[in-house]
Amino acid sequence: MLLRFAWRNLWRNPRRTAIVVVAVSVGIAGSLLSMGVNYGMVDQMVVTAIRTELGHIQVHAAGWEDEPTLQKTLPGGAATVVAALERDPRVRAWTRRVRGDGLVNSPRASAGVRVIGVEGEREGDVSLLREALVAGNWLGAAPRRALLGESLAERLQVELGDKIAVSVQDASGDLTGGGFRVGGLFHTPSSELDRSTLLLGLGEAQVLFALGDAVSEVVVVVHDPDEVEALRTSLAKELGPQVEVRSWAQLEPLLVYMVQSFDMMAWYLYAAVFTAMAFGIANVLLMAVHERTREIGMLRAIGMSRRRVVAMVVLESMWVTGVGLAVGMAVALGATWLLRDGIDLSAFAQGLAAYGVPPRLSPVLRARDFGMPLVIAGVAAGLASLWPALHAARERPAEALRHV
C-alpha cells in the first residue's frame, strides 16, 4: 500500500520529479562511466603485466624474492615443477625462462638490458611477446638470433640482421659474452619492456649464463583467473619449501594497490555525488511535504500512524532515487557498450605505454561495480528523506487540517 501511495505521490508534480530523476541519473551515469574508464585502465595495466612477463603465477627457487640473483635457479629444467603443472587441469600453459642482466653493444651504441631466455614454442602460449613481433622472425628460426624491443633497437641504432654483442656475468661470476644477430623486433604495450629487454632462446641463454639445464623461473597461466590463489596455494604445498610460488598480485603489489585505490576512489566519488543529491532530494521532499500538509493532517486524523507517515516519505525518496539509479545505470551501460571498441587516447600513447596501458581504452563495468552506488544511494536517499519525513510525522492532525 505505502509503496503504491509513495509511487503515485511522486507523479503529483511530474516536472519536479523528472528534475530529480535526471539529476540522479546524470550523477550516477557520469560517476559509473568515469569509474568504468578507471577500471578499464587498471584492468589493461593488469592484463598487460600478466601477458607481457608476469603470467598468473611464477615459480622460483627459494630465496628469489629476497635476492633475485642468477644463482637462484630451478635445477634439472625445473622438472619437478613442470610435472606438477602438467598434472593440474587448472593450468592452461606454462613456460620456463632464464633471467639475467647484461650489456648489449652495437657498432654505434650500448645499453644495459635484461636478458631473458625464453622457450620458443611455449612462450607464445603464456605471453604476448610472440604476437608483439613487428619485424623479423620468432626465436628458433635460426641460431644465435636475439629479439629486441623496437625502442632498444633505436637506441642501439641497429636493424634486422645487424650484429650485436651481449656481455654478461655468468653463474660462476665470470664475465663472458656472445655475438648475436638481430632476428626480430617487438613492440608491446609496455614501453619499459621494449626499451630494456633482449630475448634469447632458452638454450642459448643457459649457455651464455653457464646455467647448464637450470632455469630461473617457470611462468604459469590458468584457465580461470579466479583460481589463481587456489592453484598457487596447492602448488606451494605440493612443491615444498625449496621453491617460491607467487601470484601476479604478490609479484606486483603496486598493481593490487592501484586496484584498491580505484575502489576507494569510487567510494569517495559516489559519496560526494550522492551527498550533493541528498540535499536536492531533501529540498524537493520538504516542498512536497509542505504542499501536502493538509492531506497529511487528514491521513493522521483517519488513523495513519506517525511511523507510516515516515515510511511513506522515505519510500518516496527511495522511489525517486531508484528510478534515477535505474536510468543512470542503463545510460552508463549503454555508453560502455557504445565505447566497447575503446576511447582513442593515441595523443597520450607514450605516457600511457609507460604504465602498460594501450592507446585505445575501453571502459569496464562489472556487476559488482553497481553494488557500491546502490548501497551509497540507498543510504543517501534514506538520510535525505528523514528530515522531511519527521517533519511530516510531527504535524498535529487538527492544525495540519487547517493549513491553507
Binding site: M1, F5, R8, N9, W11, R12, R294, E295, M298, L299, R300, A301, I302, G303, M304, S305, R306, R307, R308, R396, P397, A398, L401
Partner: protein, 238 residues
C-alpha cells in the same frame, strides 16, 4: 454510553489574547444518534469535535469512547482508536487526489490491514450505497463537490466505525447537493445504525439532526432532542 465527555476545557493563547474555546463542556453521545453541534463561528464546535475525535488534547476534562479514556492512551494507541473506532468527514472533503474513489474508500481498510479481496467486497456495496457505483475508478478531481463528499462519507463508514464525526460536511455544497448528502447520512443512520455527530451552522443539517447541542462561547447552552434516536433498520422519517 458510546461517548462520554466531562468538563472539557481548552484555552488558546496568542499575541497576548486568551480565548476560552471550551469552558467546561459535558456531552454524552448514545449509540445510533444523529446529532449536531450547532452554534456561531467561534463557539467551540470544531474544537469540541476535534477533541471528541482524539485530535486535540483538552487542557482539562476527559473523553472516553466505549469506556476507554483518551487520556490513558499514547499517540500510537490514539491513532489506532481513530483508525478502528472513528470515521471522519471533513468540510473540504480531503480525499487523496492520487487515488481513485474506490481506492480512497479502501484506504482506511488498507491501514487496518484488511486483505484485498475483503476490501473490494466491502467497498463496492458502500460505493453503491452512496450512489457512486459507476464512478469508483474516477479520481477526486474528476468528481463534483457533492460526489467527493459522498466518497468521503463512504470512506468514513466503510470500516464500520463506532462514531462518524463530520465537521461542517455541507459547508462547501449547494443546498440541493447538501440535502441529498444529508438524506444519504440519515439513511445510513436509520438503516445501519451508524452514529453521526456533526458540527454545523447549516440550517439544513440542524433540520435533519435528531438532537441539537447548541454551543456559545465554549459552553453548552442548549441540548434538545428533536426526534427519537433511530433503531437500526427503521426507514428514515418513520
Amino acid at each position: 454510553m458510546l461517548l462520554e465527555a466531562r468538563g472539557l476545557r481548552k484555552v488558546y493563547e496568542g499575541r497576548g489574547v486568551v480565548t476560552h474555546a471550551l469552558d467546561g463542556v459535558d456531552l454524552d453521545v448514545q449509540e445510533g444518534e444523529f446529532a449536531a453541534l450547532a452554534g456561531p463561528s467561534g463557539s467551540g464546535k470544531t474544537t469540541l469535535l476535534n477533541m471528541l475525535g482524539a485530535l486535540y488534547v483538552p487542557d482539562a476534562g476527559r473523553v472516553a469512547l466505549d469506556g476507554q479514556a483518551y487520556a490513558d492512551l499514547d499517540a500510537g494507541q490514539l491513532a489506532d482508536l481513530r483508525l478502528h473506532k472513528l470515521g471522519f468527514v471533513f468540510q473540504a472533503y480531503n480525499l487523496i487526489p492520487v487515488f481513485s474513489a474506490r481506492e480512497n474508500v479502501e484506504f482506511v481498510m488498507e491501514l487496518q490491514g484488511v486483505e484485498t479481496q475483503v476490501r473490494r467486497a466491502r467497498a463496492q456495496p458502500v460505493l453503491s450505497e452512496v450512489g457512486l457505483e459507476r464512478l469508483g475508478e474516477k479520481r477526486p478531481l474528476e468528481l463534483s463537490g457533492g460526489q467527493q463528499q459522498r466518497v468521503a462519507v463512504a470512506r468514513a463508514i466503510v470500516s464500520r466505525p463506532r462514531l462518524v464525526l463530520a465537521d461542517e460536511p455541507t459547508a462547501n455544497l449547494d443546498s440541493k447537493t447538501a440535502g441529498r448528502l444529508l438524506d444519504l447520512m440519515g439513511r445510513l443512520n436509520a438503516e445501519h445504525g451508524v452514529t453521526f455527530l456533526f458540527s454545523t451552522h447549516d440550517p439544513l443539517v440542524m433540520e435533519a439532526a435528531r438532537r441539537i447541542v447548541r454551543l456559545q462561547d465554549g459552553c453548552v447552552v442548549a441540548d434538545e432532542v428533536t426526534a427519537p434516536t433511530a433503531e437500526p433498520g427503521t426507514p428514515e422519517g418513520a
